[in-house]
Each structure stands twice: as structure tokens, then as C-alpha cells.
Symmetry: C4
Subunit: 265 residues, 4 copies
Amino acid sequence: MSALRKRTYEILDIGKKQDKIGRIIDIFLILLISLNVLSVILETLPSLNEQQRYYFQLFEIISVIIFTVEYLARVWSAIEEQDLKYHHPFWGRIIYMLTPMAMIDLIVILPFYLSMFVGVDLRFMRVLRLLRVFKLTRYSSSMSLLLQVLHRESRSIGAALFVLFMMIIVASSLTYFAEHDAQPDVFSSIPAAMWWAIVTMTTVGYGDVIPATVMGKVLASMISIMSLGIVALPAGLLASGFSEALRQRRRTYEKMVDMAVQDGV
Amino acid sequence: MSALRKRTYEILDIGKKQDKIGRIIDIFLILLISLNVLSVILETLPSLNEQQRYYFQLFEIISVIIFTVEYLARVWSAIEEQDLKYHHPFWGRIIYMLTPMAMIDLIVILPFYLSMFVGVDLRFMRVLRLLRVFKLTRYSSSMSLLLQVLHRESRSIGAALFVLFMMIIVASSLTYFAEHDAQPDVFSSIPAAMWWAIVTMTTVGYGDVIPATVMGKVLASMISIMSLGIVALPAGLLASGFSEALRQRRRTYEKMVDMAVQDGV
Amino acid sequence: MSALRKRTYEILDIGKKQDKIGRIIDIFLILLISLNVLSVILETLPSLNEQQRYYFQLFEIISVIIFTVEYLARVWSAIEEQDLKYHHPFWGRIIYMLTPMAMIDLIVILPFYLSMFVGVDLRFMRVLRLLRVFKLTRYSSSMSLLLQVLHRESRSIGAALFVLFMMIIVASSLTYFAEHDAQPDVFSSIPAAMWWAIVTMTTVGYGDVIPATVMGKVLASMISIMSLGIVALPAGLLASGFSEALRQRRRTYEKMVDMAVQDGV
Amino acid sequence: MSALRKRTYEILDIGKKQDKIGRIIDIFLILLISLNVLSVILETLPSLNEQQRYYFQLFEIISVIIFTVEYLARVWSAIEEQDLKYHHPFWGRIIYMLTPMAMIDLIVILPFYLSMFVGVDLRFMRVLRLLRVFKLTRYSSSMSLLLQVLHRESRSIGAALFVLFMMIIVASSLTYFAEHDAQPDVFSSIPAAMWWAIVTMTTVGYGDVIPATVMGKVLASMISIMSLGIVALPAGLLASGFSEALRQRRRTYEKMVDMAVQDGV
């Protein structure tokens, strides 16, 4: 029993990938998660017929069963982790169940079981099913790297966002005062002008709201030129932080290889 | 009296934040300023009814009273500042009242009192009330950092803007000559073509003005490809200057910690 | 015969450009390839008359003949290459024929001969003819440099693309749920919303699909601001990798010149 | 006479700016050029009346006279330059007249005199008058710095543009084949599709041409994501080159100051 639990833990753990069965299970789960996300996306197509909807439902049931087995196996084998705090048979599993990844594992299967007993809003269920995409983060280090960069650069990115936020308020207010009389329907209020300001400053430029007066066009020209610099600030900080973190990770990895080689000698 | 003034100064000063009451006052003022900005924005919603307008007005009156008290307290306690030039009971306060932050503090409350005696344009008053957003810069160092970067890199950003300005003139003139005959209504003059050129070169691309002739489209293609490089110049300079200044500030901070530690030893 | 083969190899080889005839042949081929690409592009113009179509066809036949001669000459002289693996009269040429560049040389002339015997789809043939543009990569090192950078930075660019891909899914799903009821025609399904999400996040912003509800606009605003940072990640990594590779190539070149100078001494 | 010529040269020369009269003349000329550019732009406004047009014409005549005097003074005093090749009374002036800046000085006044004798196309004359904006480059070092960067980075920017150019051809051709049947009017030919491809890849996104088929939308999505990286290449290279050149110029300037100080000691 204990040997089986240890084996289960080894198979499900991401770190030890010399394990062949573990690798196959990983690839199978990545494929299953990807197909689940694809199925949530495709299910919204209005052109689906009855039979196709049936197949999607069938796939959903099978997926939930597999994800449930995966979840139970993870909780069951959690006490095999090296970290001492997981070692207690009961509390160790509770602690594991409260980790973010285990929470996601639970949330993405729970609504299925709930819908058997209570009527759950279909739209809400779909959003929860879509959260399965975050199960992929277990297999990808880039997402956690980005979160790490966001955390480390949070002060400077926050500063850049504050400047951007101030500029959006000033830009939208001034343009509102310039355009409100000429286009009372589109520039009906400052919140409406903020929609225009954001669409313009991010250079998306849908063209649904366009200043019509000379004053408004002069303001819009100045805003779009100035925003080029302001908008580049958070993007630049995030990009340089991300590329810095990638370089650091590569260096750490090389150091570990170096140390392993020296240890061997 | 003098002790109370010293205490008032300590509470309102941003630098000394071990002070608990000072912190609470800070957070209260930040919240009040934010709510004021929000209220100016929301007041423009056309869907508001009489009662809601009444609450907004009430909130405005209360805010002005608080900001007035804050302003008077700041002027009164200004002579407690370490800088010698503020120490004279009369001239010190006058000098303080002429600092940019104190000017803003005054400007954002003055129109309220003026409107009691003289008829003031409602739109103009709203713009002045919106300036309250700049009171936030006292609590944020990012805005002052950006202004500092703009000052330091002003020559190089100015150079990049000059190149951009030349290119806008040349691009709009050439496109005007190419498109004026085909679309005399939209490309009616070079200033009209400049609106198109700026919208295109900043890659906003509303789609309200689009070249129709082959010549105009070839010109627009060349301009939009070239502008990618030209437009990136000021943005790149500002972004690198900002990120450099952030790094420098962090280093200065670490040095200060180091010195404090060494002094302790 | 062997001397002629050696001379042919020298003329067609890109590396040795002290050769005057080789240079002329190179420029002639670059011009011919460029004219071919131009002709495929111009042939689609609906305003062409019968005679012009005839000239295009004539040019196509002449081009195919020249490219065939070029291909045969390359295969014939391939065994003159310094690399030993090409030296065998039969297998050496087979190995050469399987290199990517030789494959492209064959693919861009093959459909012409095939169409003589079998009916080939005209559209498919045009796509294959357009592939001739890739023959230019033989004369340009920038394309191979970019592929090299893509290969070296593939892990980090892949990581950035994974984050972008996750964000597109989450953004399109949330906006679909917010907008589907208000605009069932445009936000008909999540795949339809993905089209909107990609157009918005890349800041292209055609304006064919625009959120209409307040919730949708708030989501779109947050998405477009966040995407500025996310979208800058792969672009930034590629740009810095490319500029790094260019710097490295320049340094390598300078080292080679240095060594040549020292050898001379 | 010779003293007057030397004085004229000193006043018109940009380098020696301790000269007070020279400074005033400079500012006057910069203002005059700026007003000339503004006048060419404003003259195209259709709302001008007869009298306003008369004032513009008067200003044009006065400007041409001043620019003519400036040009003659420059040619006359050119032989005072330190460079030996300008010293010959006749050939020196001819050599000076062939420098790019002197050519521009001549071109922007010539059409005025020509129009007295021959009928010159009004549109063509306006374009030539607009060239006066380039007279400003004499007073700004940023334009020449940009040209210098473009020259030095020409190989790498050319490489990036070549990749961009290949991608535009491939993207427009594929989208043409995917969309031609569904939208024969907008995707009428590959050149028409190239207009779409450039507008999309530069993220301008007017919205006048939008793919309608699923295949076309998938292609457009991939193209717009890929183009983010490709389009960033030339922009990044230019921006980093420009910022590098600015840093270098600052360092050179500081070195010159250092040397001057040491010489003083």
C-alpha cells in the first residue's frame, strides 16, 4: 500500500522525469486538458447539431472522471512529499488541498457534481470548466516565471500604471469637454470618453468613437503621441524583467550542472 | 500653540511615516481625493436623477471644506519645515504658498468660493475640480520620477520629437497632394491630412480617413512602415530613461541602508 | 569536363565572390527571382488584358527554363564541394538534392512540368511559384540569422507565446460571456470572440467587432492595457536576440580580420 | 570688403554662437522657416477668403526675398570657411553651391523665380516650398544624427526590412488565395491584399479590408501575432542605435570639456 502510494506520488510529480510511466501520464494529462479547453471553446459554436453536442457531453463526463481520479490520487499520495509539513496522514493532506494548484484541481471538477443536486447556471459552469486551462501551469514554468516577475517588479510596474491611469483620466476629461457639445451621443459622459481614451492610448483604435471638432482632434493627436511613451513604460518594464528572469534561470541551471560535474570529480 | 503647530506639521508631512495618526490622515486624504475624481467623472453621466445629483453636491461641499482645512493647516504649519527659507512667520508662508503643490491645493478649492460671488462657467469649474487628481502626486513618487526623467532626457526626447514632427509634415503634405483630387472632402487640406498622418503613424488607425488612390496607398504603406521606427524613438528613450531612474533610486536606497547598518556598527 | 564542373561550382557558390562572372550570375539570378515574385503578384490584377497575360506566360516559361538549368548545374557540380559527404558521384548528389535549398529549387519548377501531364489546380501552382521568393534566402544572411535566433530563443519565445495563448483564451471566453446576449451575431461563439481578442490584443483594432455592454467595455479596457505588456514579451525577446546575434556576427567578422592581419605579420 | 565678408560668414555660421548678432539672425531664420512651413500648410485650407490669400502671397514674396539674400550671402562668404577647398574665389563657391544644404537653399527659392517666366504646376511648387522645412536641419543636430544612425545600422536594418518584406509577400499571397472567392471586390489581387497585409502588420488596422472566411481569419490571427515580433525588429534596431549615438555624443562632449579643462591647467 505504502509502496503503491510512493509510486503514485513519483508518477504524478513533475520534478522527477527520468520516470517513463510518469512522462506518459504527463503527456496524456496535458493532451486531456488541452482537449477540454478546446471542447469548452467549440461547444459555444451555434452550428453544432444534437449528436455533436452528445459527444461533447460524453467527453465532459469522461474528463471529469479522469480529473477526479487524478485529484484523489494527488491528495492520497501528497504525504509522500519531502516537505515535512505534508507528512501527517490527515493534516498533511488538508494542507496539500489548500495549495493553489490543488484548489484549481478541485474547482474545475466540483461544479459537475454540484449540478447533479442543485441547478447551477450553465454560463457559470462553463467559466469554471474553462479554468482547467490553469491546470497546464503545473507543466509550464513560464506562467510562474511571469507571476514572479510581476511580483518583483510590482512597485515599478505599479508606478508606470499609476502614471498611465492619471493620463487616462486627464485625457478623457479634456476630450469630453471638447467633444460633448458636438457629439452628445458618443461623448455622453467622462466614463464614455474613458472608453475612447483607452482604445486610443493603447493604439487599438476601433473607430467607433472619433473626435469631430478641431479642438478634439488636436487633443487626440497630442494624447496619442504622448501615450506612445507612457504606454511603453509598463510594457518595457515587464519585458525587461521577464528577459532578465529568463537569463537568471538559465545561469542558475548552468551553475547546478557545473556543481554536479565538480561533485562527480 | 507652537507644539500643536509642530504636531500638525509632522502629521501632514509625507516623509516621517512612523507616525500612526499621520498615516491614517494620509490614507483618508488619498481616499477623499480618489472619491472626488470619481465623483467628477460620474457626475457627467446623463442617467443621474435629481436625488443623486444632490448627494454629489453635498459630497462636493464636504470635500471642499476638508481640503480648505487641509490647505490652511499646511500653510499654518509650513514654517516648521527644516529648510531655513520657510522660517519667517510671514514670508516663509508666502514662499510655501508659491510652491507648485500648494498652488494646486489652492486652485482646486478656489473656484468653489468664487462661484458664490461671481458666475463661473460650470465646465471650467469641473476642469479645475478634476485637477484634484494632481494632489495625489504628493503621495506617489512615480509621477515626480517621470517628470525628472522627462527633464533629464529632454534634449534627446526633443530630438526624437523633432524628427517625428518633420516626418508628420512631410507625410501629410505628400498624401494630401496624392489624395486631394480623389477625396476632396476628407483630404480637404494639409491640416486635415495631418490628422490622418498622426492617426496612422501612431498606429491608432481609426479608419475615418483612408487613402483611396494607388499612389496614396503606396505612400501610406511606406509611411506606416517607416513610422514604426520613428515613433519607437521617443517611446524607447522615455522607457529606458524611466527604468534607469528606477534602478538608480533602488541603488540609492540600498546604499542608505548600507550606511545606516555601518553607522550602527 | 572536370575543370568545367569545378568552374561551374565556383560560379554558383555564394562564398567566393572575388569571381567576376560569379557575381554577374548572382545579380542576374537575384533580379530574375525578384521579377518572378513581382510577376506572380501582378498576374492577379484583374485589369490585365489578353496580350499582357501572354507576356507573363512567356516570362514564366523562360524563367522555368533558366531555373531548371540552374538546378541541374547545381546538382551536377555539387560533388565539387569541400565537404567530403558530397564527393561520391551518385550519393553525393542525392545528399545535395535533399538539402533544404535544393528542395526549394526543385519544388518551384516541378509544378510547371507536372502541369504538362496532369491537370494541376491553378491556385496551388501559384502558391508554389511564389515559393521562389525563398530562393533569395541563399543570397541573404538575415533570413538564416532570424531562423537561428528563433531556434536559440525558442524556449523563451515559446514561454512568452504560451502566456499570450492562455491570455487570449481567458480574454475571449470572459468577453464572450459578457457580450453574447447583447450581440449574439458578432459574439456568436468563443472562437468568434477569439478573433476579436486577437485583433484587440495585437492593437490592430479593425473595428468590425466591438463590445457594446458596459461589462464588455470594462473587460476590453483591462485586456487591452494588460495585453500591451504580454504582447511585448515575444517581440522584445526576438528583437533583443536578433540584435545580439547581429552584434556577435560583427565581432566574429572583426576577429577573423584581426587574425588575418596577424597571420600576415 | 574682406572684413565685411568675414563678418557675414561669422554671423551665418552655426558653430560660433558666442556671437550675439549671429544668434539673433539664427532665431529670426528659424522663425521665418517655421512660419513658411505653417503658411504652406494653412494655405490649403478651403475656408480662406480673398484677403487672407493675399496676405499669404505677400508673406511668400517677402520670404523668398529674405531667403534669396541669405543664399547669396552664404555663397559670397563661403570662401571664408577654414576648409582649404573652399578658398578659391570661383571654384570654392561652386563647390559650396553643390553641398546638400546649399542645394536645398537654392531649390526652395528657384521655383518662385521660374514661375515668373514659365508656367509651373502649382502643386509641384507647393511641394518644393514645403522642402523649406529641411532648412531647419542646419539648426538641429538630431536629424543628422538619425541619418548617421541609419547609415551605420543600414546593414542590420536592411536585414530586418528584408525579412519584413518577405513576410508581407507571403502573408498577402496566402490571404489573397483564402479570401479572393469570398470577397472578390476587396481582395481583388495580391497587390490589394498587400495593402491589407501592411495595414494589419503595422497594427494600424483601418478596418476597410477585413478577412471574412474562417481560413482568412486564422491566417490573419497568425500573421498579426507573428508580425508583432518581425515589425519590432527594425524599430528596435533603430531605437537602440539612436540611443547609443546620443550617449556617444554626450560622452564626446564631456571628453572635450575635460580636455579643455586640462589644457587650462
